[in-house]
């Protein structure tokens, strides 16, 4: 290299805008609502956002390696319904059911990944199929109304917290979220994580460099599945049991990831930005709520965001593209 490398904080391309938007929203929240005049308000926001952030982190792994995971919303619903049915409100069942839920998430992820890589079905289709299968299975099993109940010790992850010195009371969901985020960052900095991004960019080059492309892709889906299970455990505790608990979460997670500047189709983006995207989305909904905007508008807002974020990624970052005259401009040549 000919240039001396001076150290400065490095943000992956596309990270800066979402952090800026997030900062603006957090400040705006303080002005909009009295709840945000002290840290607990933000802690509550973080707690609310935790499941979506976990889903966004999982979705990030899949998107950055070149795929989509549309099955996570239905997976969350299925997990919660299964949990209620198997626990039957008995604390003695909590531990093994949690293990089973994580295992089921892993299994669904593995199936998504294996069908995508071995049967060569595009992940968009595989996970859409999985969405429908899980939806149908849940409906068949519950007949529309889930049975059973979660136990108090299960719900503690979504509702309860831990008292720590210095920081005070921390919700469990925030602790879990931070632990997952740190693990995800470390993973993405390591060789396997970097190779995963390279798979999304050019899987040929990875395969021909001796990499195991299929294995990496399956890993991404498996992580997404496990994180969906984790999100379901938090959501179940937080929001309770219903057959609609996970509805639409897959698109919300994709929106969050795209808002974080992660390139659809893979190859670029940071996991921190994806997580920040999820937090931004949640903060935005909270703000709209405080401003009295109808909750019914949420999905419309989400739709605008996803289109705008992708358009920004395609055009905004590259001023040359905007300035370049298009062929056929009706401007006569001066002769």
């Amino acid at each position: 290299m000919n240039a001396p490398t001076t150290w400065r904080p490095r943000l992956a391309e596309g990270t800066a805008p979402v952090l800026a938007v997030l900062a603006v929203l957090l400040v705006a929240l303080a002005f909009a609502g009295p709840a945000y005049s002290e840290p607990t308000g933000y802690l509550a926001l973080l707690k609310r956002a935790a499941p979506l952030v976990l889903l966004a982190i999982g979705q990030y792994f899949v998107i950055v390696s070149g795929g989509f995971d549309l099955s996570v919303g239905s997976l969350v619903t299925a997990e919660v319904v299964i949990a209620a049915r198997l626990i039957e409100g008995d604390d003695a069942n909590t531990a093994w059911v949690i293990a089973l839920l994580l295992g089921f998430g892993l299994l669904v992820g593995l199936v998504n990944g294996l069908v995508t890589t071995k049967l060569l079905v595009p992940s968009f289709i595989v996970t859409l199929g999985m969405l429908l299968i899980l939806d149908g299975a849940v409906f068949l099993w519950t007949g529309g109304a889930p049975r059973g109940a979660l136990s108090p010790s299960f719900r503690v992850f979504g509702r309860g917290g831990v008292d720590l010195p210095v920081v005070g009371h921390l919700p469990w969901s925030v602790v879990i979220l931070l632990a997952v985020l740190v693990a995800a960052v470390l993973f993405m900095r390591g060789g396997t994580g970097r190779t995963l991004v390279a798979v999304g960019d050019n899987e040929n080059s990875v395969r021909l460099a001796g990499g195991r492309v299929d294995r990496l892709k399956v890993l991404a889906f498996a992580l997404s599945g496990v994180l969906a299970a984790l999100a379901a455990i938090l959501l179940g505790g937080f929001a309770g049991v219903s057959a609609q608990v996970g509805e639409g979460l897959e698109f919300r997670a994709i929106t969050a990831v795209v808002l974080g500047g992660v390139l659809l189709g893979g190859g670029r983006g940071s996991v921190v930005a994806a997580a920040a995207g999820a937090l931004t989305l949640e903060a935005l909904f909270s703000l709209l709520n405080l401003l009295g905007v109808s909750g019914a508008l949420e999905s419309a807002v989400q739709g605008v965001i996803i289109i705008a974020a992708v358009a920004y990624a395609a055009l905004g970052a590259n001023p040359r593209l905007r300035l370049r005259p298009r062929a056929g401009t009706p401007e006569p040549a001066a002769r």
């Binding site: 490095r10 060789g191 080059s205 395969r207 006569p332």
Partner: protein, 500 residues
Amino acid sequence: MTVDGDVVVRLTGITKSFLGVPVLRGVDLELRAGEVHALMGENGAGKSTLLKVLAGVHRPDSGRIEVEGEPVVFATPRDAQEAGIAIIHQEFNLLEHRTVAENVHLGREPVRRGQVDRRKMEADTKSLLDWLGEEGIDPAETVTRLSVAQKQVVEIVKALSTDARVLAMDEPTAALADHEVELLYDLVDRLRARGIAILYVSHRMREVFDLSKRITVLKDGAFVTCALTRELTSDQLVRHMVGRSLDALYPDRASADDLGDVRLALRGAGNGRVRGITFEVRAGEIVGIAGLQGSGRSAIARAIWGVEPFTAGTVEVDGVERRITDPRAAVRLGIGYVTEDRKGEGLALRQSIRDNALLVRRAALTGGAGRRKSDLGELLKSVAVVARGEHQEVRYLSGGNQQKVVLAKWLAVGPRVLVVDEPTRGIDVGAKQAVHRLLRDLARNGVAILMISSELPELIGMSDRILVVHEGAIAGELPAGTGEEAVMGLATGHTRGEVA
């Protein structure tokens, strides 16, 4: 009709800057009817920017453009097209599933009674093809069914159908197979004879000397010289382009002392595309593989790498028989492969220099991630990558620097055998020399190198011995410093050689 030798287009004092960086600084260019004018220069010398100015894509900051003596301003590519200037790009802009005639008339279809007049379209195309002496192409044929060379003819006919008088051809032989290059020569000759002014942009020295009457050389965006081709030697031309002479182009070959143990040995190896391949490569030597395109020379390399494995015979690495069934197996045995398809197979373009250079280490070798952080810098320095820093995305690098990153990727795992396929394709003269020197240094440090190149001077200049492949088999082996004729003789099946 212009008289032979009339100046059709004249550019004077063209300057152009992007974001304050001057890319062209006062370039002159004169294109005459019936003349082939070569434009040469290293990558980054400003050739493509000049082409884009000529095509009306970029508007120059200053300078004059004259068409037949009249000053003009090209505001859009369409203006340039209407002034009779057409650019034939390296990548063709053809609709593969439409016919030749439909492509030629795309967007300007003749209409009769509200319907596209297919008969007139085909007749017009036919007469242009005849005029060019390309009677072999049927105007009603679908473009997908044409060869690459024929598609190029269609592009040219498309340009001619808009009454182009100036054809600028950007690396026209880059996509062509060796035998098709001859056809292109004929075609250029016929275009010239019919009074078309041709601007021929190419890296390939020999083509330029064979075809052009005049050569304009650019260096760092500045005009260096415009001279008659017959008054230039290739040595002078290289000096104009880089300020170095041709003598220094290739590093010294290996001496007998440099050679070590046999690193790679193939015995009777074959698959669907090649058969009976037997040779050895020793530590410290560079063995060249010559052959026409499609002769199987790349198939041998890809079989060694495990992409399309051998199904017959044996492969020994360091004296041990191995079955290499996928690239991972090859990589883990210490075999590196610099692919000819740099962008498709060699690099992940949106990843950083660092991530690409570490790709093999991370992807194929377990437990190697991020290990010994410091030596990556050393490695990039040793291959002399010029970049803003190791976090720059490789797509922003020039072809030469990209190729150095590909090499670094393999050097990062310390290969014992390195197979290089067209290692200098599409990179400029300066980077080419750097790659050559690097390969020789590697050999000196005990790597066994197998080198494939369709550029014969390079292959002959670099190799310690040359294997010539013809129709899927080794036709013969030639010693260092063989003449091009001997290689071509074997490669075309003209002569039979002794198989080592």
